[in-house]
Amino acid sequence: MTALRFAAWLSVPARWYLGVVFVGACLHKIADPRSFALDIATYDILPLVLINLIAITLPWVELATGGMLFAGWRVRTASFLVAVMMAVFMLALLIALARGLDMSCGCFASQGAEEEDPISRLTVLRDLVWFGLALFVFVFDRGRLGLDRWLQRRSA
């Protein structure tokens, strides 16, 4: 098995993992957009007019990309979107850390939730790993065990 083929196979669990992460991350935000809006406001980066709009829409984009990655449909597009979102999240985290804010990440649970996820360098590192995984999937995925390949075979 060549290195490229190995990487293509490796990208399958990578995209499944990213898919689960993104779907898992969006559920509490969709269920409670008000809390997510507070999370965004706590970062103190976006103007007030954008906070609710982002809180309402971003989780659905996360859900769409997570679902696409898991199902293996338009994988390059989904991994590109994930990489862009991870880059934005990392930037927000770095700004919050530079300001010395002692706050929850809001990634998987809202501010004040019992299961807190305080921001730290580790949070940035975690996002960096996911960013790298998204790039890996973007470059090496060949549609194995995915909807794209199944649809392609069906139409052929």
Binding site: P33, L48, T57, F80, L101
Partner: protein, 175 residues
């Protein structure tokens, strides 16, 4: 058929990166539309634009690091290996202080100036002392404890604050 022959090559010729970008925009747009519809239909939908600022409750980062308590009667406080810091006002310091103590007034409202802390850290590092003992006004809260935390936060180890502050430590010195 003729149309298919014309359109298929043109679709193939679209650069992959451009296709990915266009699809990403499309996915985002669909996600946004679904999100807005869902929000409009749900009973407790969020208003699109917040009218009042959010009440953000972010605790201020606790400045400083750990300090240990030491009783004023502890003999090593006055040893040559202890660097003494007096957190009281210059007037109080001038009236009376422990021999060898350095005055760095602690202000409850203002943070200790960066330069002063840096200078103190350099003095401590250059003194060869094994520990730092900070004493304040002995009140509750004690200025010495808070200054000790700030000094400790600069990476200086073995920082102690004297329980009871100046009244206790100067009293015990008299004895």
């Amino acid at each position: 058929m003729a149309v298919a022959q014309i359109t298929q090559p043109s679709r193939r010729s679209m650069p992959d990166r451009l296709r990915v970008l266009l699809e990403a925009i499309a996915v985002t747009a669909v996600g946004v539309v679904i999100a807005l519809l869902f929000n409009a239909l749900r009973p407790a939908g969020l208003e699109l634009i917040a009218r009042t600022p959010y009440q953000i409750l972010v605790p201020c980062p606790e400045p400083g690091g750990p300090v240990q308590i030491v009783q004023a009667t502890e003999s090593w406080i006055l040893s040559a290996r202890t660097f003494l810091v007096d957190a009281r006002s210059p007037q109080e310091f001038d009236l009376r202080h422990l021999p060898g103590a350095v005055n760095l007034p602690y202000d409850w409202l203002e943070p200790v100036p960066e330069d002063d802390l840096l200078e103190l850290a350099q003095s401590i590092a250059g003194s060869g002392a094994k520990r730092v003992a900070v004493y304040g006004d002995g009140g509750r809260p004690d200025s010495g404890e808070h200054l000790g935390k700030e000094i400790s936060g600069r990476g200086i180890k073995n920082v102690f604050f004297v329980s009871g502050g100046a009244p206790a430590v100067l009293g015990s010195e008299k004895q």
